[in-house]
Symmetry: C2
C-alpha cells in the first residue's frame, strides 16, 4: 500500500488556527450562553468598501457578456500587474516579474515547492506557521519529528525576536545558502523593521548567498513614513529577495483570495539559472491563476478611490489596535506592535502561552492566539488580533480591564 509521506508525518498534528477554532467550538459547546469574542485568527471582519466591491461585482458581470468574457488568466491580468508595479514599486519591475496569486500563504507554499528539499531554512522566531510547516512538507526542515509543540525542527535556523533585541534578530545565525523567511510588519509580533535593519538583512543575504522571501502582507498598515514599505527600497534587494504580498488584510480580501509575488529577473540560483524562469515554469505547471473576478477587484483597489478605501479600512483596524494596546497598558502588560500593524504581542512573563490562552477564554470569553504556536521564542506571549468589529473590540477591552 501507498506509504504516508514521511514529511507530512513530521508535522505537528494540528495546524495552529484550525486547532484554535476547535478549542473555541469545544468551549462554546460547554458554555452555550458565553458571548465569545474572537481576537484569534487574523480574519478580516468588516465589509469591503463601496468602490472595491463595485470592481468585484463588475468583474463577475464581465464573465456573463460575450465581449468581456475571459478564461484562464494564469500569471494574471497585465493591467493589474502594471498597476501593482506602479503603486507599490515605482515601476521598478516589469510585468513578467510580478505574478498574481490567490494569496500569500498559497504562494509561500508554491515557493517552498520551487526551492525543494535541499535548502537551509531560516525564520524569525516567532513566525507565521506556513514558513516552517510548509518547509517541513517539502522536506526542507530536517528529518526529526518536531512532535512537541515547543520544540523546533533541526533543519530550521530559528532567529529569536524578543523584547531584548527589540524584535529584530541576530542575523549571524543565518547559514550559507538559506531561504530566509522575513515578515515585516511582523505577524505575530507586530514589529516593523526600519531601513537600517532591512539593509542589514539584505547584506546578510548577499553575504551568505541566501534568498529572502519577504512577506509584506501587512505593508499597508505602516503609518510611520520612515519605515520601508517594501524590501526593494533597499539597494540590491532585487538580487536576493522575492516579495510576497496580498490584498487580504488591506482591502478585506481574506475570502476573495488575491495577492502577488515579485520574482526579480536579477535573482539567480548558484549555477546561474534564473529563479524567475523556474517560478514561471512551476506556476504554469501546478497553478491556474487567481480568479478573474478577484483581479478586477484588485484593479479597483489600486486606483485613487480604491487606495482611499484601503486607507480607511486599515485606519479602522489600527484604531482597534490602539484600543487593545490601551487596555493592555492599563493592565501593565508589556506589548509590542499595533502601531504599524494589526497585531499586538503581549508578554506574560513566566507563564505558558496555552495557559494564558485558556484563562482568557474561560474568564473573559476571549479567543486569542498563544504565542508558542508561532515558534519556540513565542512562549509566554499572546497575540491579540485587531480584526474585529468596533463593538466587539470595545467589549473585549472592557472585559479585560474590568478583570
Amino acid at each position: 500500500m501507498v506509504k504516508r509521506n514521511r514529511n507530512i508525518a513530521r508535522l505537528r498534528a494540528a495546524y495552529l488556527f484550525p486547532e484554535i477554532a476547535r478549542l473555541r467550538r469545544e468551549f462554546a459547546g460547554l458554555h452555550p450562553n458565553a458571548k465569545i469574542i474572537s481576537m484569534g485568527v487574523g480574519n478580516t471582519t468588516e465589509p469591503i468598501l463601496h468602490h472595491i466591491v463595485a470592481g468585484l461585482t463588475e468583474g463577475a458581470r464581465r464573465l456573463g457578456r460575450a465581449e468581456t468574457y475571459s478564461g484562464y488568466a494564469d500569471e494574471g491580468l497585465a493591467e493589474l500587474r502594471e498597476r501593482i508595479s506602479s503603486v507599490y514599486y515605482k515601476n521598478a519591475f516589469g510585468i513578467d516579474e510580478i505574478f498574481i496569486s490567490d494569496g500569500s500563504k498559497c504562494d509561500i507554499g508554491r515557493l517552498q515547492t520551487l526551492f525543494g528539499p535541499d535548502v537551509n531554512v531560516a525564520v524569525q522566531d516567532p513566525s507565521y506557521p506556513v514558513y516552517v510547516d510548509g518547509s517541513v512538507v517539502v522536506g526542507a526542515a530536517g528529518s526529526d519529528g518536531g512532535a512537541s509543540q515547543s520544540a523546533g525542527y533541526s533543519g530550521v535556523s530559528y532567529l529569536p525576536c524578543t523584547p531584548e533585541n527589540n524584535y529584530f534578530p541576530d542575523l549571524s545565525k543565518i547559514k550559507n545558502d538559506s531561504v530566509i523567511y522575513f515578515c515585516s510588519p511582523n505577524n505575530p509580533t507586530g514589529a516593523t523593521a526600519d531601513r537600517h535593519q532591512l539593509s542589514a538583512l539584505v547584506d546578510a543575504a548577499l553575504r551568505t548567498g541566501s534568498i529572502i522571501v519577504y512577506d509584506a502582507a501587512y505593508s499597508d498598515y505602516i503609518r510611520n513614513p520612515a519605515l520601508p514599505r517594501t524590501i526593494y527600497e533597499i539597494p540590491d534587494a532585487d538580487k536576493c529577495a522575492i516579495e510576497v504580498n496580498s490584498f487580504s488584510k488591506s482591502a478585506g480580501f481574506t475570502g476573495v483570495r488575491l495577492g502577488w509575488s515579485v520574482v526579480p529577473k536579477d535573482l539567480y540560483f548558484a549555477g546561474g539559472e534564473s529563479v524567475n524562469a523556474d517560478w514561471s515554469r512551476l506556476t504554469a505547471t501546478i497553478f491556474n491563476g487567481a480568479s478573474n473576478i478577484a483581479q478586477y477587484g484588485g484593479l479597483a483597489a489600486l486606483d485613487g478611490e480604491g487606495q482611499s478605501e484601503i486607507r480607511e479600512m486599515t485606519d479602522f483596524y489600527l484604531e482597534n489596535a490602539g484600543l487593545i494596546r490601551g487596555a493592555l497598558k492599563a493592565l501593565k502588560i508589556t506589548c509590542a506592535g499595533g502601531d504599524n500593524s494589526p497585531y499586538i504581542w503581549a508578554h506574560f512573563p513566566g507563564r505558558a502561552s496555552w495557559d494564558v490562552f485558556a484563562e482568557l477564554l474561560e474568564k473573559h470569553y476571549i479567543v486569542t492566539t498563544p504565542g508558542s504556536g508561532f515558534g519556540p521564542a513565542g512562549e509566554s506571549f499572546i497575540r491579540f488580533s485587531a480584526f474585529g468589529s468596533r463593538a466587539g473590540i470595545e467589549e473585549a477591552c472592557e472585559r479585560l480591564t474590568k478583570g
Copy 2:
C-alpha cells in the same frame, strides 16, 4: 548560493500550453493578417449563463454588506459541499470528505505534495501534463532528465492508450503502491471509460495497494447514460480513490477558479493513517480556500436552473465537437472522442505531431495541440479542442475540409 531545485531542473524546459501560446504569438508576428483560430488550449470561450452569473454577482455583493461579509472559508462553504455531495454523489459523502478547491490542476499539485517523493506513479499515456510534470516537481518521477520531448521519466509507469486497446490501458503494468492518475472522459483522447473498465481499474488499485487520483473534470460532458459519471459508482472505490472535479469546463469557470476533491474517510495509507486527515492538515497549511465569490457561483450552478445552464453550455461545446468530428471524417482522418467529451483525438499515422501542428498552423491558421506533448504514446496524434465560438469552429472546419 541557493542551488536550483534538482526536481525542477528535470522538467522539460517549457510547459506545453505556454509553449503553444508562444508559437502562436511568433506566427502571428510573422503573419499579422492571418486570422488565427484556436483549437489548442482547453480554454472556455462562451460567457457564463444568466443564473450562474447572478450567483457570482451576488457573491461579490455579499462581501460589501456587514450582515453577509465573510473572510477565510478554507475547506469551503458547508452548503456548497453539501450540494456537491447531493448532486454528484447521491449524498454518499459527508462534507468533511469534500474539499472545495480553486480548480483540479491546483488540487492535483497539492495531492502530489501530499504523496511526496516516495511513491510509484502510473499515468495513462497520453495524459494531461500536470500528472507527470507535477510528479517530477515533487521528486516522484525518478532521477533522470526527461529533457527530450518524447522520452518518458524512469519513475513513471506509462500506460499506453491507443486505438489498438480502444484507449483503455493494460492495467497489469501498474506497480505496487502506486499513485494512479486516471482521467475520464479523457483529456486528451476524449475516450470515456465504461463500468466494466472502471471496475477493472478499481480492482487493479486494490490488488496493487495503489491510490487512484480520478480526474472527472469532464464528467458533465457524458451523454451516454450507461457510462459512470464518477469513480464512486464502482463498489469499493471509496477505499482506493480520490476524485478531483471542476466547474471550469461545465459552467465556464476557467477564469473563476472553482473545483473540489473528494477524499473519502475510508482511504488509508499503509500504516493505517487517514489520507483524509493528512489532506485536511496539508490544505490548512498551504492553501486558503477558493474565492467565496466563486463559491456562490458554484452554489447557483448546482441548483435546478444552474444545472440546466450547465447542460446548455456543455451541449453547445459538444455540438462544436460534432462539427469537428464531421470535418475530420470527411477528410478520412480517424479520430476518437468528441461524443462524451469536448476533445477530439485525431490520428496522423507516420507523422510527427509537431509537424502536423506546424502544418495546420501554417496552412490553415489553426492552433491545435500536438499529441506528443501529452506523452510518448501521443506521437502522431493531434488534439482538437471544441472550446470555441460556433463561427470560429465552423470557419476552422471549412478551412480543413477545403484543404
